[in-house]
């Protein structure tokens, strides 16, 4: 026999259904994360670990800044993070479209911003070389572009990706913190003499 008040059993039943639905939604996100393999920058090769670390750090920062913040402050943070996500995403997509070359076999190469002297004399298309030109020297961009421009291209791709990921994690973190703050505000006593504690 349960000592729960009447209606509590029904609430438990619905909360179990919610848990199952949440699990389903979590499982549904697996292909989304798996597809990021093709979207994330080709350099560094361990960028998946960098992204994972970034998610953890981003979530912790979002929690730190979100905990105890008012609804209005959370809304401002959410807006800031959304802007960061959109700007980061478009910057990343622009850089990806101009700097990343996908070969027939699926390998991805990062092109540089400037060709070296020799390549400049040989290829009119410089620095916008295609797979045809790169095939003339083992698809090795270092033989066509200056090392400085290749490094700049790699770093700009990673910077845009990190901006996008950090924004995305902050949006999710602060959106959850916002919902919690609203729930806490709704559950708190409405006596003006008592301060309302949020977060």
């Amino acid at each position: 026999m349960s000592d729960d008040p009447p209606g509590a059993e029904k609430d438990n039943y619905f909360s179990e259904i919610l848990k199952v639905l949440a699990f389903g939604a979590t499982v549904a996100t697996i292909p989304l994360f798996a597809s990021m393999e093709n979207l994330q920058p080709p350099w560094p090769t361990a960028v998946a670990y960098v992204s994972a670390a970034l998610i953890v750090v981003g979530a912790l920062i979002a929690r730190e800044f979100g905990a105890g913040a008012s609804s209005a402050a959370l809304r401002r943070l959410l807006l800031l993070a959304s802007t960061l996500t959109v700007v980061g995403l478009f910057a990343y997509l622009y850089l990806y479209a101009t700097l990343v070359l996908t070969l027939e076999g699926g390998d991805r190469l990062i092109l540089g911003y400037a060709c070296n002297n020799e390549a400049q004399q040989m290829y009119e298309r410089c620095p916008h070389l295609t797979a045809v030109e790169l095939s003339e020297d083992e698809y090795d961009p270092e033989r066509f572009y200056t090392l400085e421009s290749l490094t700049a291209a790699k770093l700009s791709l990673v910077a845009a990706w990190i901006t996008f990921m950090a924004g995305l994690v902050a949006v999710v973190g602060w959106a959850i913190a916002g919902v919690k703050a609203k729930k806490a505000a709704a559950a708190a006593p409405t006596n003006p003499a008592e301060p309302v504690k949020e977060g």
């Binding site: 996100t29 998610i55 953890v56 076999g105 699926g106 020799e118 797979a131 020297d137």
Partner: protein
């Protein structure tokens, strides 16, 4: 949120655990076998021409020796040169695909004049 994070992190790490893709290889058969052969990338070949160096000679730096029968994992376009004791030569070109496979392409090096893109 916690389980989502866990699954997200695992999904991000999955691609790193995938085995490396196999690559196509090429091996050369020199006929008659008293000859030697070497190959060079098309860009280096073109760069020598640009510097007024005869790209078929060893003055053009970048030539690599062909070891008969030994499979090489290469990608892209190359020029190949073979020569025999009786002054006969082979001037040709070959291209290796970028698709990852597990094939061995055999390239016979037999005396012949310049053919293909390396002229």
């Amino acid at each position: 949120m916690k389980s989502l994070l866990r699954i997200g992190l695992a999904a991000l790490a999955l691609p790193l655990l995938a085995p490396p893709a196999a690559a196509d290889t090429i091996s050369f058969t020199i006929r008659p076998d008293n000859g030697t052969a070497r190959f060079i990338s098309r860009r280096t070949f073109g760069a020598c021409r640009l510097r007024n160096i005869d790209p078929w000679t060893e003055q053009c730096s970048g030539w690599r020796p062909v070891v008969g029968g030994q499979p090489l994992s290469l990608r892209g376009q190359f020029c190949i040169y073979g020569e025999w004791d009786d002054h006969r030569t082979h001037r040709g070109s070959f291209e290796m695909p970028t698709t990852s496979g597990d094939r061995n392409i055999n390239y016979p090096v037999v005396p012949r004049e310049a053919k293909g893109v390396c002229t």
